[in-house]
């Protein structure tokens, strides 16, 4: 009986901790439905007394639909680039004897720790020479460098765990290494590939610096850049800003809920390796 009480207590305490920790998100959503005067009220109200939905209408008139589309496009294409490059690379590093393998792995590890600001100026000049400033290409090319090292390192660990006999059997049946990889290994690795894809998607979804630096044209801006711009524009209209933030966070929340267990596991192994 006493043990059960303790378990109850721990569960409740746990829920309380998580609520306090995630309070900023709760506050974001609540504020987006409050009126301007209610936001400034002391003591604060924890749920809107006077629900209003105008802030969502307000931001719809702003560029948010275009921003959303841009975020989606940039993040999806970046994820595609990341997976196309990192899946085979991780497989190669896991399966073949390659000279300089250690060096390659080290290269990926080190790049994971580089700040974006370090490559920002040279990339800006390089992209200027290539004539791809003010296009989707700039942020996509740059953001892929965030997802590739992460994905290569995670997927390599995964491929190392797949028994080699599976591919050997395929080869005896007449598969070449490429088709053995595509037909046998890839389907097995799909859950891990999805995690890497999701993480690359999140990395890119959260990018602000590459987009506002490479693209002066607001037509090309993702949600993060749109929000940054809106801070100046809306000033203290926090309900509109919070509505903007809620819309921007929504896809991340949805993907996170769908993939929660796998993602947490993947993040744990990827952050350390």
């Amino acid at each position: 009986m006493k043990k059960r009480q303790k378990e109850w207590l721990l569960n409740i305490l746990g829920i309380f901790i998580v609520f306090v920790f995630l309070f900023p998100f709760f506050w974001m959503i609540v504020t987006s439905f409050k009126t301007q005067s209610e936001i400034f009220q002391i003591p604060p109200t924890f749920l809107p007394v006077d629900w209003q939905f105008e802030s969502y209408q307000e931001i719809m008139q702003n560029n948010i639909v275009q921003n959303f589309f841009n975020s989606l496009l940039i993040s999806s294409l970046t994820t595609l680039v990341v997976l196309l490059l990192s899946v085979p690379s991780a497989y190669g590093l896991a399966r073949f004897s390659i000279r300089g393998k250690e060096l390659f792995i080290l290269l990926f590890l080190v790049t994971q720790m580089l700040p974006a600001t370090v490559i920002l100026t040279p990339l800006f000049i390089l992209f200027n020479q290539m004539g791809i400033l003010n296009s989707y290409a700039g942020p996509i090319l740059a953001c892929a460098t965030l997802g590739i090292p992460f994905s290569v390192l995670i997927l390599r660990t995964f491929f190392l765990g797949i028994p080699r006999e599976l591919e050997d059997a395929a080869k005896i049946d007449g598969c070449n290494p490429l088709s053995a990889f595509v037909r046998i290994v890839m389907p097995l690795a799909m859950p891990s590939i999805i995690v890497c894809g999701a993480v690359s998607f999140f990395f890119t979804w959260g990018d602000l610096i590459f987009s506002i630096t490479f693209n002066r044209s607001q037509e090309l801006w993702p949600l993060t850049a749109g929000i940054y711009n809106a801070i100046g524009q809306y000033g203290i209209e926090w309900n509109s800003l919070m509505a903007f933030a809620t819309i921007s966070a929504l896809p991340v929340l949805i993907i996170f809920i769908l993939l929660q267990k796998r993602l947490v596991k993947g993040l744990a192994s990827g952050a350390v390796k």
């Binding site: 746990g14 998580v18 995630l22 190669g92 790049t111 370090v118 000049i125 990889f181 744990a268 350390v272």
Partner: protein, 296 residues
Amino acid sequence: MLKKLASKWEGYMFVIPAVIYMLALIGYPLIYNIILSFQDIDLQALNTGDGSFLGFSNYIDLIHDSVFWISVKNTLLYTVGSVVFQFIIGFLLALFFSMKFRLASFLRGIMMVSWLIPLTISALLFRFMMGSEEGIFNQMLLSIGIINDPLPWLTSPDMALWSIVLANIWVGIPFNMLLLSTGLSNLPEDIYESASLDGASVIQKFFHITVPLLRPVILIVMMLGFIYTFKVFDLVFVMTGGGPVNSTEVLSTLSYRYSFDDFNFSMGAATANILFVILFVISLIYLRMIKKDEVM
């Protein structure tokens, strides 16, 4: 013959595309950054394509720039403050969620969401909550009566840096907690059982068993925390933009300002290089550490 050659190279065919990509978009810019920092490239030189060679004069200018030293100091204070507290809180939470109750792993997992949300949004949320009149922090403190006047969270030069540290601690906690939880779950249980038989208290067990056994993981978490915090940009950029009066300027925002507010690309590159060298040295130490310990 051709087949043999192909099979010798097939491994490289898989690996090389990603390596070339990274060399082109990270390796080349790093080298170009060094060249840039010795030149004099502004907006005009960018279009004509020629900048004169200056030698070390950008670096010398930087050393004589008081804002540069302020941002070095801020970056260090910021990093150390964030790493220490996010580690302590992350550790406490990891210990809490390592107790066996039904919702433990589910709740711990949910907390990770704050790590995946765009930093721009987290920064905006804290900027809002720290607002002097509209912010919940002041509203709560005022209604309880702890303070009589609103605190200038982000508007006072003395307070702004610590307010951003607070936001960064929040961002960093789940990451610390997750890694420490993984470490805790790998600890052998029988040691704890025999320690209990010997009459060890919870606190004794923590300091004499948990901490020593977890040492490699603790070091890694601290190092990674340092690396990820040292390069922070978005949080500062969105919360204060380096102000008020440079009180929250860090190396990354300073570099950005040189390059894209003043269009002095060479000074921006020089600042970024200093940031890079510091991070590179720390990364090397970290890599040696994980190689030696071979943890995880």
